[in-house]
Subunit: 363 residues, 4 copies
Amino acid sequence: MSQSTFGKKFTVTTWGESHGKALGAVVDGVPAGLFLTETDIQAYLDRRKPGQSRYTTARNEGDEVEILSGVFEGQTTGTPISMIVRNKDQRSHDYGNIANTYRPGHADFGFDSKYGIRDYRGGGRSSGRETIGRVAAGAIAAKILKELGITLQAYTSSIGPVSCQTYHPEVIKENSFYMPDMVAAKNAIKYLESCMRKNDSAGGVIECRINGVPAGIGDPVFGKLDAAFAQALMSIGAVKAVEIGDGAKVSTMRGSENNDGFHMENGRIVKNTNHSGGILGGISDGSEILLRAHVKPTPSIAQPQQTVTTTGEDISIEIKGRHDPVIVPRAVVVVESMAAITLVDAMFSNMSARMDYVKDFYL
Amino acid sequence: MSQSTFGKKFTVTTWGESHGKALGAVVDGVPAGLFLTETDIQAYLDRRKPGQSRYTTARNEGDEVEILSGVFEGQTTGTPISMIVRNKDQRSHDYGNIANTYRPGHADFGFDSKYGIRDYRGGGRSSGRETIGRVAAGAIAAKILKELGITLQAYTSSIGPVSCQTYHPEVIKENSFYMPDMVAAKNAIKYLESCMRKNDSAGGVIECRINGVPAGIGDPVFGKLDAAFAQALMSIGAVKAVEIGDGAKVSTMRGSENNDGFHMENGRIVKNTNHSGGILGGISDGSEILLRAHVKPTPSIAQPQQTVTTTGEDISIEIKGRHDPVIVPRAVVVVESMAAITLVDAMFSNMSARMDYVKDFYL
Amino acid sequence: MSQSTFGKKFTVTTWGESHGKALGAVVDGVPAGLFLTETDIQAYLDRRKPGQSRYTTARNEGDEVEILSGVFEGQTTGTPISMIVRNKDQRSHDYGNIANTYRPGHADFGFDSKYGIRDYRGGGRSSGRETIGRVAAGAIAAKILKELGITLQAYTSSIGPVSCQTYHPEVIKENSFYMPDMVAAKNAIKYLESCMRKNDSAGGVIECRINGVPAGIGDPVFGKLDAAFAQALMSIGAVKAVEIGDGAKVSTMRGSENNDGFHMENGRIVKNTNHSGGILGGISDGSEILLRAHVKPTPSIAQPQQTVTTTGEDISIEIKGRHDPVIVPRAVVVVESMAAITLVDAMFSNMSARMDYVKDFYL
Amino acid sequence: MSQSTFGKKFTVTTWGESHGKALGAVVDGVPAGLFLTETDIQAYLDRRKPGQSRYTTARNEGDEVEILSGVFEGQTTGTPISMIVRNKDQRSHDYGNIANTYRPGHADFGFDSKYGIRDYRGGGRSSGRETIGRVAAGAIAAKILKELGITLQAYTSSIGPVSCQTYHPEVIKENSFYMPDMVAAKNAIKYLESCMRKNDSAGGVIECRINGVPAGIGDPVFGKLDAAFAQALMSIGAVKAVEIGDGAKVSTMRGSENNDGFHMENGRIVKNTNHSGGILGGISDGSEILLRAHVKPTPSIAQPQQTVTTTGEDISIEIKGRHDPVIVPRAVVVVESMAAITLVDAMFSNMSARMDYVKDFYL
């Protein structure tokens, strides 16, 4: 796959800069006959919009999506689906004075090193707004999966040191952090307020649970489902670690603790436990898939920071403007989208895994 | 990329089952003019052989590699390099009695679900021996990188609860765990002995440091260098978590703690710290790249485990035969190999990042 | 590559239906630092617009391109370039009565067989308007090649039985057929008038000459330059044959007639002849590359034709509406575009063919 | 796809030089549960062996294939299938005196230009022996297609000016040219004898008919079935033109002559004619697919030819040794193999074309 295209059969190509004219995505390999409208996509995009709490910035982005191709009379035609979101209200002057500086923690230095030129306004393609294309595509993937009885639920499991202790999915939408634990949500508020008083920022962890995935999905060895999820999640800006199931904990467990045994239940093979997070040997095993992404704190803080100018002078900067003290809640739908996109591609690939499948299809 | 081919320009295709006739790899996109012999490859393969300590199994694998193509008079020709390692001494009867059982923690169930048929002997393609192809290819990648002044060093940073406290790379080869801390190595021995007494197994963590990588490597957004490393490492059997730099820790840090500032040093831009692990915005920043892979404990243990037969009956099994109580030391060279392969591919891709590069090349 | 994405490093993803809201393309892997504006793109698009002669239809398409991303202050940034052309003036009712019929020679039946649903208006994605995305991308590729001293010239070499006898590139733009022979252009007019009187259509042949390509481009065996050109040209609607150099003639030649010998000229190796069309063994040899595409006659004719309805009834149809009696002139820029796109991708790939190249780049 | 890997889901990676230790292929994405043995592969390989007539060289290649992986107890396991053919009896000294010369019509100059180094013995990877890997893979593809009721038949339709006038598939195996017309076969003998007397060589045309392909196969626009076939066939050494159906003839036909109308027959939609060669709009239409490849004459002739040495001196050479005066018959199975490989990949891709397909599979 190329740098801006993800997937093999169900592919997603994203484009657009933070302060360019628009952002979008082209989704290809979508099966024909899926009912799809802008409403389906907008529902997903709205979950990334800021302004839903006083802890995310007040930028009024009003990201409205338009479907430009691939849908006819309400159904997908099997041809590529192009979606566009036009940029509005990106105050260039909020960023103009950083054109000549390498902001710590941002991709400025990387892009300059690579390309020798960068659209510095708002971070260009390295901006969080780049996720618009991913989320639009994720909405399509999620709809396909829903047709197959598969559901995904991403949520914030911790912000800074504040972790959820319980899992009540029904409250995820009832707090601005998308946490499934209202007590943790309240404590997160306090933590963020302390960060904001210090002109600082916070990170967190996002989890995603996927249910209804049949066993057998994933293509060993390089197309392993967990490897694909890892690439997908790590490609999201600010993610620095990815875990499957028990994740990092496994390194300190013993085999007797970590192995998931099996037993029969009503004629079906069922796992005793689920330390593996639903994936074993790179192939789904039919139990709940659990993914985890660790997100670093927002780099843009108002505290003074030591850095250099693009012309090689030492300088201290304070990044003003409208910046989120925590981006984790906005990234929840991005994690869910990337997981959906990855899974759809793997499920299409699986359809030719056996001669019986191919023969049933063609004969 | 297909399920058994990794990479876009520098590609690696692996093949082979644990108890099949042979295993190997075809490496394509290798630039012409690289001096290469079996010795280069064997050096890497020997780092995965068991028998180097009493904590890894006594299977005498004697994996000798043969280069079948792509090299002429000692130099690569630019054509695909095919390498083969013939299987010897795989006692089938060590595994025969598990043909009809789904071993907990192994890929048996996954492969059966997907393909309806599996070579159960020794785990087939899900066996650790599958890494032979990866490591052979990794040796080539490492040699290319060495020519470019880039070095990789993978090592065991912890086994079970025993973590290295210091980093002395010169002792890595002096203990059977490939740990850079002799004190930790001694404690690891004790821990493993206790595991073995209980017929149990242990997991651990492998780290890999890469030095000399210039800034600018990686292709946002989906070809981000960290995303590519994540896919590469997570595709290794038994890996359940991947981290870059500070990794999971970032989720509890604040922006002021996590950002790496810059300063000038002898006219060069240098980072103050390296929380990002050498990759920022998916692009290398010129500082040391740090990767981390968490490996689960070996699933094959002699303790009784509850599971089911392939015909759907509850059963208890005890896995006899020769199995490592810890596979982490054997996976160290696999991590290093996958990292090398990933990096070479990204470095080739970077060569056309700017018109200046292309013009310098062709004009 | 996926179905709507062409290329490995320099990739082109096209989208859009004839009567949808818009059409466009996303071009990725464009090196940073290339000066690019809508004017560059529009120049290419204008070469496919109808209305330039009375032998192409009078549809006023007015296809104006807009660049939405990937360009900053007049230069490419290395990020994906998204281009859009909004549809105007596509009279749906010109096509509405064919929604339920499979037009002979069109893709209607194929799309219905595959997807079970099709945007029948104007042919949907099978319409000639689909080439808008390709040509927009081709303009970028051509600009890159121009920077490298490489020029492409596509032209009509025959329409029906009327073939060019001479090659005067300066007159290509002076007749509506883009023929390099004014006498042939006049005869072609007569031939077309006779076709139109009979409510029939004509086909033709397009050639493309590429000069300035250095030797060494192309990746044996499956990435051979001629194989890549063949895929590229055959993917253009209505193309049914592709030739390189002497093409089909080679099958009746003898080795002594077909081989291109070499001789020295001012210290450079020069070919005596160029039967191979500039490509040998799948690799460019430094001489002029010659490609040829055979285009079938426009399927939409007003003559009665026997066909069936989508509900399985025999029927006779006469296709009214505005249709070109010959599409060859409009496809000339498409051939040139696909050739340019293919060549750029191959030239980027070649940059890592030797260790010397890689070392010169990185050390 | 990389340079030595063809396909997206069903992929073929070939390797090996003419005078290296061995040649082979790794075929990935093969569905599990296909019965497969060396016999299946050998049958195909034997069709490329010389020595079957006095018009092909007497080299005794004895190419015996060995399957090294991916098959267990006679059935494919879904894991990659590695096949090897060890080289025997390649007399190096037949080629040694050409190490420093660029043979006209061969890939010597191209490979040197690209890589700066080449295995000159026997043409290295540019040798016709490279097709061993393709044919071995083609045998697997053909077996899969046979299970789906699809048959391929490739044959020589002309040698030099001698064309088949009739099509009697039953005689294809009864003459050394694989021509379906015994009269033409006899005339071809005479033509070749005249070539050999003049120390010259001949070219020809290979056709391939594919029956039983359902409508709907192919992925517009870049994955069009004809475009894929074009790349596949043009990648075969010595092929300089590829046609589909009426091919080049279409450029001189009129729409009324070229269009294939439809009519109903026993409730099924049937084409009246088949000018399109079974593919329309890049998608199969259910009728016989007809492909055509034009093969240039063997470059290696004993006549004196003007060329240069690798050190830049004009020289005249006469190529001695054992060379076929015509390679067309040996390439017949290569065309059939590439067609089979291409078709299988497209048929797997088609399985997710509609939501109904995906839902039927998973629900």
